[in-house]
């Protein structure tokens, strides 16, 4: 159905002086007369994502004084002015479990369950994170069930997977981020042009024979293994089957592969200083993600701008290891505040990229529901009460934007459940033990 689409809509922008030209599919051509659904009658896809930063915020400069729809942006939220119609702020809700300064933030938020101890002070997730619960339900419809993107990978040398990653398939089964733009681009558009199905048919046959062999070997490998190892092989087989499905789904892609200048496809920041490289990586990754979502290559994403406990350095703002100053900066921590605002400016880059993509009668952002949050509440103490959360996107009209909701210590994970369900995924319950919930947060639902 995409073969006739030869012309491309080209997005133009400048990235640190390098012209950026990323082609976008003419998705609208596939839509019905009103532009709100596919010609086939299928509704436009809804997307769910999580955007992560690190080391907390200062609640006295973050939480709006007023609740409801009329509220001023406090100092640390001022970068959101640029995207204000598309965001809501949620405060006053707590994570259901604590215990570890960093890992408890991201991993409890994503699972609504306590951490699982491994040994020697290392922790992993007890359950699959919510992005993967959504992917289990809607990820089969797209070539990739989910994508995990990272920008800065500087972090303290902690050991457990709960510390490093927001997305988990289960205990000791994290979904690490890709930090390399080239790698992400290749993963999304490999085999690239979807228009010419016949040309890749031979390659597909070969790939299938390889994957078949791998599955046979994997099954043979399972014999005599213990339960946990069998699960690991199961996970590997799930990965192989996901590639197989991708071969099928590839034919349904409504995009042509975009052209992107090779010098934009840059690698990880590895950084002493986040700038200028990190800024560029963030811009390119934001465009790549917008393309992936627009082309319906995936509907679920995790975007770790920074790792939990991030050691990101921004020389311009006066620090070389962010985590050090969160504990070490005395007084009112003006440097940490500038770091929080810096992160939010990077968030705005992504949101703007989503907003630039036309879709149906509006933009891609209308059909996204995203949570932006750090890995702990505050820089100094790294707690998990009154967890700072920003809701971004309209979730296909199911999410209320423009509000500040202040809770009374309820489970913060309810916000994620509301956002997740906008995709059509049911996620009947979320979490475990005292964290288990079956209802989202009505205050942000339409």
């Amino acid at each position: 159905m995409s073969t006739s689409l030869s012309r491309r809509r080209v997005l133009r922008g400048m990235i640190s002086g390098v012209p950026l030209a990323i082609a976008l599919p003419r998705l609208n051509a596939m839509l019905d007369g009103n532009g709100v659904a596919y010609a086939s009658g299928k509704p436009l896809p809804r997307r769910f994502g999580v955007w992560a930063f690190a080391n907390g915020v200062h609640l006295d400069r973050w939480v709006p004084k007023e609740t409801g729809t009329a509220w001023e942006l406090p100092d640390e939220l001022t970068p959101l002015a640029a995207i204000r119609p598309h965001v809501s702020v949620v405060s006053g809700m707590d994570l259901p479990f604590g215990g570890r300064p960093h890992a408890s933030g991201n991993t409890v938020l994503m699972t609504s369950a306590n951490l699982k101890g491994v040994n020697d002070n290392t922790y992993t997730a007890r359950r699959p994170s919510i992005d993967q619960l959504v992917a289990d339900e809607i990820g089969r419809d797209t070539p990739l069930r989910s994508i995990e993107i990272g920008v800065d990978d500087g972090a303290p040398p902690e050991k457990g997977t709960a510390f490093h990653w927001w997305s988990h398939n289960g205990p000791n089964s994290p979904n690490p981020c890709s930090y390399d733009c080239r790698e992400v681009f290749a993963r999304l558009f490999r085999g690239g042009v979807v228009g010419d199905v016949d040309a890749v048919a031979a390659a597909e046959r070969e790939q299938r024979s390889i994957l078949d062999a791998v599955l046979v070997d994997a099954r043979a490998l399972q014999g005599g293994l213990g339960l946990e190892d069998r699960r690991r092989v199961d996970q590997h087989m799930d990965g192989i089957r996901a590639i197989e499905r991708r071969i099928v789904r590839r034919k349904q892609i409504v995009c042509t592969a975009p052209e992107i200048s090779d010098d934009l496809l840059i690698g990880p920041t590895n950084g002493i200083d986040y700038e200028p490289r990190g800024t560029r990586v963030n811009q390119v990754m934001a465009e790549l993600l917008a393309m992936a979502l627009s082309c319906d290559l995936t509907r679920v994403f995790t975007y770790q701008l920074a790792k939990p406990g991030s050691r990101i350095g921004v020389n311009r703002l006066g620090f070389r290891r962010y985590h050090d100053i969160t504990h070490g900066e005395p007084g009112d921590q003006p440097m940490c505040t500038s770091a929080v605002k810096f992160f939010l400016e990077e968030l705005v880059v992504l949101v703007k990229a989503l907003e630039r993509v036309p879709e149906g009668g509006g933009t891609l952002l209308d059909n996204c529901a995203m949570l932006a949050a750090p890995d702990c509440t505050n820089p100094k103490a790294h707690g998990h009460k009154d967890f700072p959360m920003i809701v971004v996107g309209h979730g296909g009209g199911k999410i209320r934007t423009g509000v500040h909701h202040r809770g009374k210590g309820e489970n913060a994970c309810a916000v994620l459940l509301s956002l997740a369900r906008t995709t059509g995924a049911k996620v009947p319950t979320f979490g475990e033990g005292t964290g288990q919930i079956s209802a989202g947060l009505p205050a942000i639902e339409v």
Partner: protein, 474 residues
């Protein structure tokens, strides 16, 4: 079941297909349990990670088959699919596997084998039948693999696979052959690289190699220093293990070390600035042993100041193998302003901090060790004062006070926890196991043998390869 670590994958691919190939990127490695090998025993491969393995296999096979020379080397032997498969899977192919792979185009077969879980994962099932002592010994092939991954950090070589094919490593009588092969592998330069990889993880030397300092405050800082510090410590450890074979505990008291021009300046040794590494005996003074080296002193420091807490934590975790819990959330780990004013040394500030009952429990446990190193600045240079006040280098370890780091070195050299920690780390790294309980008997036995050998690390490594825990499944 262990996944090949990134280093093992890289080395194995080079051994199987020849040097000079571009090795595609794979999933980031978890260090759950403290080592790459312990993480590889526990963590599953993500969806993206599986894609990466499949693509890496495709890329590697295309590189080989796209190069006539490489292709010829690989495929000219008759029955190459079976022999390549045996090398890749570290065991002969089954008849079914052989039939299946031989039916494929050669490049596709190589791709499929490199993408196979039988290649990526190392299984250690053991013999199905227990031995006379009720234990399940690893099979000959499994022992060959474990031995090679431990000592060379790569797949077993042809000699080991041949010994496994003759089943020479099985049964109690196999111990002699395991030992013979361990000694053979240890003679090779590849063992030096393999054990360097172990030391690098065990002593957290990547932290040292990554040190950075703000330019404004440290205009003379050179990024080469951290790399030189890592190399210094690796050379000292390598020499102790392979060359001098002296008492391992000397490493905490010796004045002998390796320096190049960069480090010579730092340590006050007279040497040309561009000199390569050579062994020196440092002048008499407080700088002694591993804990007088830059890798420890600078690797544990923050970007612009020392951290006695991090240094104490390192001694607890790396030297003594003791756990230090992270501070609980909701605790402000920022040192509060002191009522005594601003002009305080790190020691004074931390002593204030320990007045807080909540913090003192853990901090007493680590800071009293770390503070003793305050005469070494954040780059490992020697100083006598901080804020124009003389630095007090005394400290305390578990109730024993000492006057300076040299005296701490003497205490550590007599502390039974230090050699036990070393063999425990060797054991964890070699087997991928990381639970304290199940490994305790083997580690205790190894510690006793280590002591009996006069703490010769070389003997400990050899003893480990024929130990109960190394040769048997749980």
């Amino acid at each position: 079941m262990r996944r090949l670590t990134l280093a093992q994958y890289r080395n194995t691919v080079t051994d199987l297909l020849g040097p000079g190939l571009k090795i595609p990127s794979l999933e980031e490695e978890p260090k759950t349990g403290g080592f790459s090998t312990t993480g590889a025993m526990q963590v599953a491969t993500s969806f993206h990670g599986v894609e990466q393995y499949v693509e890496a296999a495709d890329s590697l096979a295309r590189q080989v088959f796209g190069d006539p020379e490489r292709k010829k080397t690989l495929t000219s032997r008759p029955g190459f699919v079976a022999s390549f498969g045996a090398a890749a899977f570290r065991r002969p192919l089954t008849r079914e596997e052989r039939r299946r792979y031989e039916a494929m185009d050669p490049r596709v077969a190589v791709t499929a084998m490199l993408a196979s879980p039988a290649f990526i994962y190392v299984t250690e099932r053991g013999d199905p039948k227990p031995d006379a002592h009720g234990r399940y010994r690893l099979t000959s092939y499994e022992i060959a693999t474990r031995l090679s991954l431990f000592l060379w950090n790569t797949t077993p070589d042809a000699e080991l696979l041949a010994a496994a094919a003759r089943n020479e490593l099985a049964g109690d009588q196999g111990d002699r052959n395991v030992r013979k092969h361990a000694l053979r592998l240890l003679v090779s330069p590849r063992a030096r690289q393999g054990m360097r990889d172990f030391f690098d993880e065990s002593f957290r030397l990547a932290d040292a190699a990554a040190i950075l300092r703000p330019k404004q405050k440290f205009p003379d800082f050179n990024y080469r220093w951290g790399k030189a510090m890592r190399e210094e410590t690796l050379r000292v450890l390598e020499r102790n293990l392979f060359d001098s074979r002296t008492d391992f505990r000397d490493l905490y008291v010796t004045r002998d070390t390796f320096v190049n021009g960069d480090l010579a300046t730092l340590y006050g040794v007279d040497m040309p600035k561009d000199a390569d590494f050579r062994m020196v005996t440092l002048p008499a003074g407080p700088r002694r042993g591993l804990l007088g080296q830059g890798a420890f002193l600078a690797g544990t420091s923050g970007v612009d100041k020392t951290s006695p807490t991090a240094r104490g934590k390192y001694v607890r975790e790396v030297v003594l193998c003791e756990d230090v819990p992270a501070p609980p959330p909701e605790v402000d780990t920022n040192l509060p302003p002191s009522p005594k004013g601003e002009n305080l040394t790190v020691r004074e500030r931390l002593e204030d901090h320990r007045q807080d009952v909540g913090c003192s429990k853990c901090h007493k446990f680590i800071d009293t060790i770390g503070l003793a190193f305050e005469r070494f600045d954040l780059n490992g240079g020697y100083r006598e004062t901080e804020l124009d006040k003389p630095i007090d280098p005394s400290g305390e370890l578990d109730g024993r006070t000492f006057e300076d780091p040299a005296a701490l070195g003497q205490i550590l050299a007599q502390d039974e926890r230090v050699p036990r920690c070393m063999v425990r780390n060797l054991y964890r790294y070699a087997t991928g196991r990381s639970g304290e309980d199940e490994s305790e008997p083997t580690v205790n036995a190894l510690a006793a043998a280590f002591k009996a050998s006069g703490y010769r690390l070389y003997d400990a490594v050899v003893a480990l390869t024929t130990s109960e825990g190394f040769l048997h499944v749980d």
